[in-house]
Amino acid sequence: MKRFLLPLAVFVVLVGFLAAGLTLNPREVPSPLVGKPAPPFRLPQLHEQDKTFSPSDMAGRVWLLNVWASWCGGCKEEHPVLMRIAKAGDVPIYGMDYKDRRDEALTWLRRHGNPYPITAMDEAGRIGIDYGVYGVPETYVIDKQGVIRYKQIGPLDDEIVAKKVLPLVKELQSK
């Protein structure tokens, strides 16, 4: 009898998770990093391997750090939004290519357009650990002092950009 109950038990657990899933928004998560200085790093650039990129290069400016990868489906969804932000030029977006292969990442950018002045290459995903990258894409708003002010987990959309990201950027820029 017991082993015949096993499928049911598995299913009950599954339903529990699905029910919990219904109450969650897959795109919203609080981050302990908000309000703390952005963890420092120095990583090679995607396009020019011998150059590097570090958050300290951005001191004195408000900027977005977008974590992406060519294998990530959500990034494809988000990409047009980033392209629009880059075109409008309100705030620069710097990319961090996460656990990716260089050739694939370059192809991806050629294909979908490149909104980033510079993309840093986190091939092993080490810096991702410091930033607590759960999933890709993620976007951080970092202020002039290098402090993370906002973290978006999952794709940005036009509504979040208009209601949260851009007003915050304006406020931080005026400080």
């Binding site: 009898m1 897959p26 890709v136």
Partner: protein, 663 residues
């Protein structure tokens, strides 16, 4: 008025479904023939009512009735008629109506082709299907009513998602749903057998054709969806391990396992409990797929608008249907008893191993799909699981399954001898290995995966040839042709389906190994060469379609100076939703596709252009179609024909043999 008729028909259908889901089941339990006989007319009546509702919605689309919310949301006055009709299943509410309609279609099919079934069995099957249908009808009427009015009416509609305005998308959902819902028949058979306690070989024989037909539809449906992604999304990929794709792939894996397990139950009486569990699993995964797609618990490129009440309803429905059937399983299955025993090396054991591998592969897909949700629910954070996971987990699981596929049909039932098998297969094995190692060198490049893919494909083909020779060897006949013709169609169906897999594997392997792509900027008159083909860009013109404007590029393609094709990729802007779509131009060939798509315009008439040379890519879908054809061929075997026709056939056979012996 017409939409209200549709709405009313759905309400009546609910009433009929209640009757169909209760009286026949009760009648079968107490042995009341009058109650059992309600099932057939109820099923047909329900079909008629849902058909009326379906036609009413179709009429609302055809007549551009923008006072119906669903019509206003998914069509537009400029949308051509055929896409307006396809828009019936272009979004949530209409998809559900299509789903329910197809379910009633299967019910009618059961009433027609079940004359030879015992009355109680038929009553139970239709009763269970009636209950499933009740759930979907209630879902529509409570939170997803396709006939909801919009007052005042919209001036014009918001248009169908441009991604769906495509012939492939017109056919993809109905095919997929025929498959999904088709598993409900196998499911209903299993539940009926559990209720009645008569899980025997006859039960398996009745279930087999239904399962196989559903599986064929699902195979075609998935192939169409993948083909659609290939040419419509414009980046030349054909499978993305997206949650929605996984949702259709999981029932396919379970269904494939079910087909093979049913074969054992039918022929040897074994695996009964396992077969029942697989039948429940295949349909449960179809339902789970619906839940995942429709409730928005997972993010996906196929994102649909989400309404928490809908998610809750489907979840409750899932819990009742799947939980109920698993409970029934736990209660009844222990009494079923075991089938005939078999040795460690036998066809049964290989089919079982294959089944387990398929189910584990299915489990790995399920885990990858739901993992982000699990972590999220446990408060461990959010992640997305990408193709790297699926590629690394799926390939090692499915490789031994394909290897066993070659041996299984050759091994004997009950007890096979390993040395004898090795003898039979030594040529097949050595020739596959040698070819797989050498062929890539001939093709110009050697990688382990390339070799592995070719090995598996050649292995399937060579073992199949060995198998056919064995089978023919057992027959005494005059000529080879008459011997081949004497083999049953079910056997040929299996051969064809397995060869379909081989063709499919060749397709994936060759595309992965040899595809060439080039992203470049092309001015008018520029040429670029890939894979031996020279593309000359002749410029792009403005053209306008019924509901879009487009830039239409012209490419002149030559090979060795000979003209091959004129290709016209388009970049369309659909005006209503202001959405840009890339329409790739594809020149299809047996051994290669040429694929051109337009990127972005650059000043001076130049464009960024993407060129692909994709060898053997069409074999991917060709293989799927051949698998489905194999399934259909197997279903046409005379052992599945309704009893009276088979008896007539047997009489004729008997007469023939008598006349022969007389002569």
């Amino acid at each position: 008025m017409i939409p209200e008729i549709g709405h009313f028909a759905l309400i009546l259908a609910v009433c009929v479904a209640v009757v169909q889901g209760t009286l026949p089941l009760y009648g079968a339990a107490v042995g009341n023939s009058a109650l059992m006989s309600v099932a057939k007319p109820a099923a047909r009546g329900q079909f008629f009512l849902v058909l009326v509702a379906f036609c009413c919605l179709g009429y609302a689309f055809a007549a551009k009735d923008f006072s119906v919310l669903y019509v206003a949301a998914t069509s537009n006055s400029k949308l051509p008629l055929h896409y307006r009709l396809a828009a019936i299943w272009g979004a949530h509410e209409g998809s559900l109506l299509l789903w329910t309609f197809i379910l009633t279609l299967w019910m009618v099919a059961v009433t027609i082709f079940s004359k030879h079934l015992p009355e109680a069995m038929r009553a139970r099957i239709l009763g269970v299907m009636g209950l499933v249908s009740l759930g979907f009808l209630l879902f529509m009427l409570t939170v997803s009513n396709p006939f909801e009015r919009l007052i005042p009416a919209a001036v014009d509609g918001r248009d169908l998602n441009p991604l769906l305005q495509d012939p492939g998308m017109v056919m993809h959902p109905p095919m997929l749903y025929m498959g999904y819902v088709g598993f409900s028949v196998a499911f209903a058979f299993a539940i009926a057998a559990l209720l009645g306690g008569n899980l025997d070989a006859a039960w398996a024989r009745w279930s087999r054709p239904w399962t196989t037909v559903a599986w064929c539809f699902l195979t075609v449906g998935i192939a169409l969806g993948s083909g659609w992604a290939y040419y419509e999304l414009g980046w030349g990929g054909w499978w993305f391990w997206d949650p929605v794709e996984n949702a259709s792939f999981m029932p396919w894996l379970a269904g494939t396992a079910l087909i093979h397990s049913l074969a054992v139950t039918d022929k040897r009486g074994g695996f009964k409990v396992w077969t029942v569990l697989l039948a429940i699993m295949a349909f449960s995964l179809s339902l789970l797929g619906t839940f995942l797609v429709r409730s928005g618990v997972l993010t996906s490129v196929h994102a649909f608008a989400t309404d928490p009440r809908r998610g809750l309803f489907i979840l409750a429905f899932l819990a009742v249907v799947i939980g109920g059937s698993l409970l029934l399983y736990a209660w009844r299955a222990p009494r079923v008893g075991l089938g005939g025993g078999f040795d460690l090396v036998s066809r049964e054991s290989m089919l079982l191993a294959n089944n387990v591998l398929l189910i584990v592969a299915m489990g790995s897909v399920l885990l990858g799909t739901l993992y982000p949700l699990f972590l999220d629910a446990l408060g461990l954070g959010k992640i997305s699981v990408g193709p790297p996971y699926f590629d690394t987990v799926f390939v090692p699981l499915i490789t031994p399954a394909v290897f066993l596929m070659g041996i299984g049909p050759i091994a004997q039932w009950k007890k096979a001898s390993l040395p004898a098998l090795a003898m039979q297969l030594r040529w097949a094995f050595s020739s596959s290995v040698v070819t797989a190692i050498l062929l890539p060198f001939v093709l110009g490049k050697w990688t382990p995966l390339l070799s592995l893919g070719l090995l598996l494909a050649i292995w399937i083909v060579t073992t199949t040839v060995v198998n056919i020779r064995e089978r023919v060897g057992h027959l005494v006949g005059n000529s080879l042709m008459s011997c081949l013709a004497a083999l049953p169609r079910a056997y040929w169906g299996m051969v064809l389906a397995h060869c379909g897999i081989a063709i499919f594997i060749v397709g994936i392997t060759m595309v992965k190994g040899f595809e060439v792509e080039n992203d470049l900027r092309m001015n008018v008159g520029d040429t670029a060469t890939i894979g031996g083909y020279t593309f000359r860009f002749e410029g792009a013109q403005e053209v306008s379609g019924p509901n879009y404007v487009a830039a239409r590029g012209s490419f002149h393609v030559t090979k060795d100076g000979r003209e091959v094709a004129e290709m016209h990729p388009e970049k369309r802007v659909y005006q209503v939703q202001n959405q840009t779509m890339t329409e790739a131009a594809i020149d299809t060939g047996l051994f290669r596709d040429l694929y051109v798509s337009l990127g972005e315009p650059i000043e001076g008439g130049a464009w960024s252009v993407r060129l692909y040379h994709k060898p053997f890519v069409d074999w991917i879908w060709g293989g799927c179609m051949i698998m489905a054809l194999g399934g259909l061929l197997a279903v046409s075997d005379r052992r599945y024909r309704p009893a009276w026709r088979r008896e007539r056939y047997e009489e004729a056979e008997a007469l023939r043999s008598i006349s022969k012996s007389v002569a």
